[in-house]
Amino acid sequence: MTKRTKGDLLLDIGVYAFLIALGLIMLLPLASVFSKSVSEEWAITSGKVGILPVGFQLDTLMQVISSSVFIRAFCISVGVTAVGTLISILMTALTAYPLSKRNLPGISFCMVLFIFTMLFSGGLIPNYLLMRQLHLVDNLWVLILPGMISVFNMLVIKSYYESLPEALEESARIDGAKTYTILFRIILPLSMPVIATIALFYAVGYWNDYFGPMIYINDTALKTLQLYLQDVVMDANNANLTNKSIDDLMNMSPEGIRAATVVASTVPILLVYPFMQKYFIKGVLIGSVKG
């Protein structure tokens, strides 16, 4: 199509070298976490496990994913993440739309109202009392409703809406389309890259949420995977901080189990991104609408 100049070639070399180096720096330390989950305990204890596993075995991993506590927590996390993400995307995409019309009276003020909550919060105790009043304690909806709209994500969508060519909306309006029709038939379909992005953000946010479940969920049957993971990891980390009895210390999970729990509870959410990536293919949609 276009001729390759020398500059382009140099650029290519630079680009690939940069990205490969970056990828290696990120991947190498990570590999050791994975390796630990499939290595023998003695090798982990003595720090022999580096990038590659030592004494490959899958028993630890199997032991983790076959435990009933893990399976139950996994199911709950998948459910909360899926439902939460859908609700959040819908709410956020809708709310961001009017906020992107910054010339309308009152919109700026509303925007400040939203941003204010990014910084100020009432803190743990009033929030807990509120959730109790709303009968949300020990209810899985508590993991979704209070975080339904992330202002950060909303700003990302809003800024995307603002970058869409205004002409699109105007011509639709001239054709007699109503606001809602424009939003659902034109704006949202055009915003797939950003919707995919915030879907990812929300999914990861719901999956990784640890504080919410820790505070608002007491029932052991409703614990999420992240809570389980944090507990397993932090239990060892806090060993000499808390008043543990000898029996508790003797019952602590070995490092192999901890690494396997990390791997087993992180891999599922990692799979979301590659799936979302196909929506990042640029600009196709705008062309199709205009055409």
Binding site: T5, G7, D8, L11, D12, Y16, F18, L19, L22, P29, L30, G47, M91, T95, Y97, P98, K101, P105, C110, V112, F114, F116, T117, M118, L119, F120, G122, G123, L124, I125, P126, L130, I149, F152, M154, L155, V156, Y160, E162, S163, P165, T179, Y180, L183, S191, P193, T197, F201, N208, Q230, M234, N237, V262, Y273, P274, F280, I281, K282, G283, I286
Partner: protein, 321 residues
Amino acid sequence: MGTGATELNRKSRAAAARSRAASKWRIAWRNRDYYVLLIPGLLFLLLFKYTPLYGVLIAFQDFNIFDGIRGSEWVGLEQFHKLVQSEEFGQVFMNTLLISVYKIVLLFPVPILIALVLNEVRLMFFKRTIQTIIYLPHFLSWVIISGLFVTILSTSGGLVNNIIQWFGGEPISFFVSNQYFRSLVVFTAGWKEVGWNAIVFIAAIAGIDQEQYEAASIDGAGRIRRMLYISLPGILPTVVLMFILRLGSVLDAGTEQILTMYNPVVYETADVIGTFVYRIGLGKMDYSFSTAVGLFNSVVGFILIVSGNYISRKLLKRGIW
């Protein structure tokens, strides 16, 4: 005569204001669909964010969890004094600012660069693989990352020091060196988050109208020129947005991260507000003090966001609102 003129003037100004207000309402009414769309979001905000906001009052009390806010004693600004007047505060505040500013200056541009560079990759498979790899570290908790880096940077058998020694250098104890510790904090924070933070810019690039690139290429613009004159301006709104929001968390230099990484030897350079407050509050359940510190951070953050937005509107003609 003169007074009459001002009288008249005032009248007409009032009338103008009235009519402006009226026309505002008229504009609003004509666009009521938009406001209807806003209702669920505002209700959400009111219920879940503003209702519990009375909790900040705890900062002005000597709060006792059993007496509640109504029953606890009011102490005014005492909690804030306690923070500001403590011997270590000056040092801790400086550390916080330094680490935060380093993080912003050194780490904020990286995700943008990554997004721009990734955009130049034509091999889809390669692009997706790299994208996925660099976002992985985001999913590890600081406890685990800290453990990883202690091993990699260890002076006895750690990978990095082995390399340094292989080149004939002296091993460096990164974790117990006041000289290197801040760099370590910045580097590991970058390691964990740059790939993740790049996503939002990658998405922004995906939103740029493809026709612009084609037009530029017909005009004979090389790829570097296209990167600088199309991609970069195309994601500028996102960059500005992210930057302004980043300003809001200046006083959070990464408490959780530092808490898992630091040790008494490097308190001098690494102790930040969050870790300091954590240490002196250990085992005490001092809700008022921690709320006061949180409020202090929020107020500073809010001021920075508002000023950032103001400056950006003046200079770049765009802001968040």
